[in-house]
């Protein structure tokens, strides 16, 4: 295929690729629109003060489109509340009026999304509000009904007054904020209890309450898990034991490498081979422990290329199948981002290889698997450098 064709194909593919963070973009757009409106309006005020004609033009700019730019998502547009692990679209006749925010526990200076508040698009039902939030406890799900995806849920009837009632849906979390960075997530911990709460309020008559309850039901049945509410994929050990499959090859010259899945002695694992190492090819087999791979995200081999005159290092390994990028944290070096390969083979794992690191003395601190949404799936703590001086390795 010609380079022209390759470029056309590449850009055609890009056209249909989602952009990370797309769901939050409209809110950002509204904020920017408001700011620009204020700038425009300010400019107009200044100009008109000079020409004394403000009354003709100013109302147009100050009309309600300069607006109350509290982020309002159009009906039907899904809104992600990544922190609480849910995505929902307002049911017909309703709109997401605002995000509910609150301080991050133990870091009160940082505000996080706690949920959303929905309002009817018109003023009826009167005084109607629905909130969608989470709670870190779970009720007894014994006898609960189930959503189509199998999640148990309960409906608690309203207690009178404005209280229309509440849907409680099982919504466990599988990730938590990294305590050191706070801004990132790690998904290698145990399942954490959590309940999604859809709560309705109304001041109107029985019909109004009925309308609110219908909208609550629509939300409870359609809200979707995202980010930290998605469980890690199971790693089928059987499949790893049955398959011997090439995952990829790359590099060049003396540091060319090949990596493949290979079970040995009834244990799953993978082999990395450097076929052009001298005086003879170098191979390493590493056992793959599925639960450890799920928890740490990666299983890596750090290879010193001692057969080169200016010895360097290469990091090769496997990662969970939902990994798209590997972040390699080197001591006193910029963070290295490495794409995974082998996804097209639909195996329970994917593989990655770093570029050749120019010095074998570089220290590797952490290797982290990241998925397409930017979640950190797990971190392998290495705290070391490629073993170039071990016994048996030529000096």
């Amino acid at each position: 295929m010609s380079l022209h064709q390759d470029l056309s194909n590449l850009f055609e593919r890009i056209q249909d690729t989602p952009w990370p963070g797309e769901h939050q973009a409209f809110d950002e757009f509204l904020r920017r629109r408001r700011r620009r409106g204020q700038v425009l309006a300010g400019g107009v005020v200044l100009a008109l003060a000079v020409v004394m004609g403000a009354a003709l033009v100013l109302p147009g700019l100050w009309s309600n489109d300069v607006d109350q730019v509290v982020p309002i998502t159009p009906s039907g547009t899904p809104r992600d509340i990544a922190e609480q692990g849910f995505q929902l679209a307002a049911p017909a006749g309703w709109k997401i009026a605002r995000k509910m925010t609150g301080p991050l526990p133990a870091f009160s200076s940082k505000t996080i999304d706690m949920g959303v508040e929905l309002k009817p698009q018109s003023q009826t039902p009167s005084g109607a509000t629905i909130t969608v939030t989470t709670d870190a406890h779970e009720p007894d799900w014994q006898g609960a009904s189930r959503r189509p995806d199998g999640r148990p849920f309960q409906l608690r009837a309203g207690s009178g007054g404005r209280d229309v009632g509440q849907y409680a849906i099982q919504w466990p979390g599988y990730c938590r904020r990294d305590p050191t960075t706070i801004l990132t997530w790690t998904c290698d911990g145990p399942r954490q209890a959590r309940t999604l709460l859809v709560t309705g309020y109304a001041t109107g008559d029985a019909e109004a309450r009925q309308q609110v309850q219908q909208a609550m039901q629509d939300i409870a049945m359609s809200v979707q898990p995202i980010t930290n509410a998605l469980p890690p994929p199971p790693i089928p050990t059987d499949r790893l034991l049955q398959v011997t499959a090439l995952l990829g090859k790359g590099g060049q010259g003396p540091t060319a490498w090949v990596v493949w899945l290979e079970a040995r002695g009834g244990k799953p694992g993978f082999t990395v081979r450097f076929p052009h190492a001298t005086p003879e090819p170098v191979s390493h087999w590493q056992e793959l422990e599925p639960s450890s791979l799920n928890a740490q995200g990666t299983s890596s081999i750090l290879q010193c290329t001692y057969w080169e005159p200016d010895r360097g290092a290469i990091i090769v390994g496997l990662a969970r199948a939902d990994t798209t990028t590997i972040q390699i944290e080197l001591n006193k070096q910029p963070l290295l981002h490495v794409p995974v390969f082998g996804r097209e083979r639909s195996l329970p794992v994917v593989a990655y290889a770093s570029p050749r690191l120019s010095s074998a003395l570089v220290e590797v601190n952490r290797i982290t698997a990241v998925d397409a949404t930017g979640r950190m799936l797990g971190t392998e703590n290495r705290q070391g450098r490629a073993p170039c001086n071990l016994p048996g390795i030529p000096p």
Binding site: H4, R13, I14, F29, R36, L40, T77, T244, F341, A353
Partner: protein, 172 residues
Amino acid sequence: MAVNDSEFSEFFASEYARLCWLGCALTGSPAQAEELAQEALVRLWWRWRLVGRPKDPASYVRRVLVNRHRSLLRRAAVEARSLAKTGPEQLALPAGDEQAMVLWQAVQALPVRQRAVLVLRYYEDRTEAEVALLLGLQVGTVKSRAHRALARLRDQLGSPTLDPASRTEEGP
């Protein structure tokens, strides 16, 4: 002039990712790409509000984005050259096979002005005359930049340092 909110929301939803990718292809930086896309969409909205709906909003917003990128380049020529030399700090890779990723990285490594010509020719499918108009260049300059960009790509792809593209389907 009133802006039809639902029409604009749909337009936003259908175009935002594409504009970001266009910005990313032009700048090599996801952050700058979002900045350009947001800025272009805000300008489109206000144009819509104050003057009326453009005949072709998709073309209009792209023109704004490219012009904005161009003026940023002009204003920060030194920085842009420096960026072109050092390469972007963080690449946003499109989904695809390894070969596509290698090509994407090679495109990102092109000097800014050569990359802009290639992106408009192949991503936006513009003629050389249209690219010249958009970038404020002579057609001859567009041709020579495209030629140099393609030659550089061939050069890069012919001698990769990290070579996942050379992977084959053979067994181990």
